[in-house]
Point group: C2
């Protein structure tokens, strides 16, 4: 089983590395970071670079496609090479997945038409504009398409997907080894739970100035 994680300039690091840390522990799986060209790819903050070990052309038919988000998904969604790779890879994939605004890339490539899907809570209108109604769930399965909400939700997605692929015991083993027993010090991780004034402050920011990943 080959798992391909797409990188593009301005991706959000945890979107990619969260589910990577879970899925790459699947016994027998090969996980590979891919980008238009091999080499270091900078994240949205500019302070982190992850290496793409292969070009898109070198990994045309992964079993699992994983697309992170980031402020630059708006540019990446219009990149013909990325769009074509997503369509080609999706044609033979077993699972096509995204985290955060990565679903905007899938939608822009025409892969989420008529599907249940989600994205970062601040990008709901953008997903709607691409013809897909966000569900508001943290992890959404629709056939082979799996989309997750903002940034950190990719870890939950990874565990759900690992369970589907390899069974509950394999997924629980990875949860135990990564000690994923979350204990956040606040209960502010969704717009339904965070203080209303914080939610409103971010809703009023223009889309192009959003830092959401």
């Amino acid at each position: 089983m080959q798992i391909a994680v797409l990188l593009f300039e301005g991706f959000t690091s945890l979107d990619a590395v969260g589910p990577y840390e879970i899925l790459s522990r699947l016994p027998g799986a090969e996980t590979v970071f891919v980008a238009k060209a091999p080499g270091p790819v900078r994240n949205d903050q500019g302070s982190l670079a992850l290496t793409a070990d292969k070009s898109l052309a070198e990994v045309p038919h992964p079993d699992v496609v994983l697309v992170p988000g980031g402020p630059e998904t708006r540019q990446a969604a219009h990149d013909p090479e990325i769009r074509q790779w997503l369509r080609t890879a999706d044609a033979t994939s077993t699972w096509t997945t995204s985290v955060c605004t990565g679903s905007l890339l899938l939608a822009a490539a025409g892969l989420l038409e008529g599907r249940r899907a989600t994205t970062h809570w601040l990008a709901f209108d953008e997903l709607r504009a691409l013809g897909v109604e966000p569900t508001g769930e943290r992890v959404v399965f629709d056939g082979k398409y799996v989309t997750a909400a903002g940034v950190s939700s990719g870890i939950d997605m990874g565990l759900h997907l690992l369970g589907r692929i390899a069974g509950d015991e394999a997924a629980m083993t990875v949860q135990l080894l990564t000690e994923y027993d979350p204990q956040p010090p606040y209960d502010a991780g969704s717009p339904l739970k965070a203080p209303a004034h914080l939610v409103e402050r971010w809703r009023s920011v223009r889309t192009e100035d959003l830092p959401q990943g």
Copy 2:
């Protein structure tokens, strides 16, 4: 404020990137990945490489030191250059922190003597052998020393620390933007909660064969 994340061959990626994603969003902070030499540094799985943008010598006095874990902490702990850098950086740091077996590096450098601290649940005996009794808590503050349990606990640590540095509202903002509202599909993230036979299976693995990060 300068935040330095230490990289070494064989680090566990989420140990570093989880708290990075939280702390790097601190307004005005500069976050930099450091290693013995600048360039790509491979993780424990071999399929991910993060770029160290600066050498240890270039970042002698960060305000926050963040040390990830990984199976290779056992080697890194004996590296005189890493050990010396940790001591020098710690001498002037505001916060010295670790995730997972990163605390073994801090302990081996003599920085946790007489302190409350923790590590990955599978590395408790190793921390004890370095003279530090693990507390079993997920995130432990003792003065300026902050240690977290296994892999994913670094995200919780990042939020705790951000709250201390910049206040609750700043930390809740980052939790909201990273949509950290965890909903794992299983409740198997700690040895107290996972099925007993899984815990026993991993406890019986020899230390040098452990994959825990």
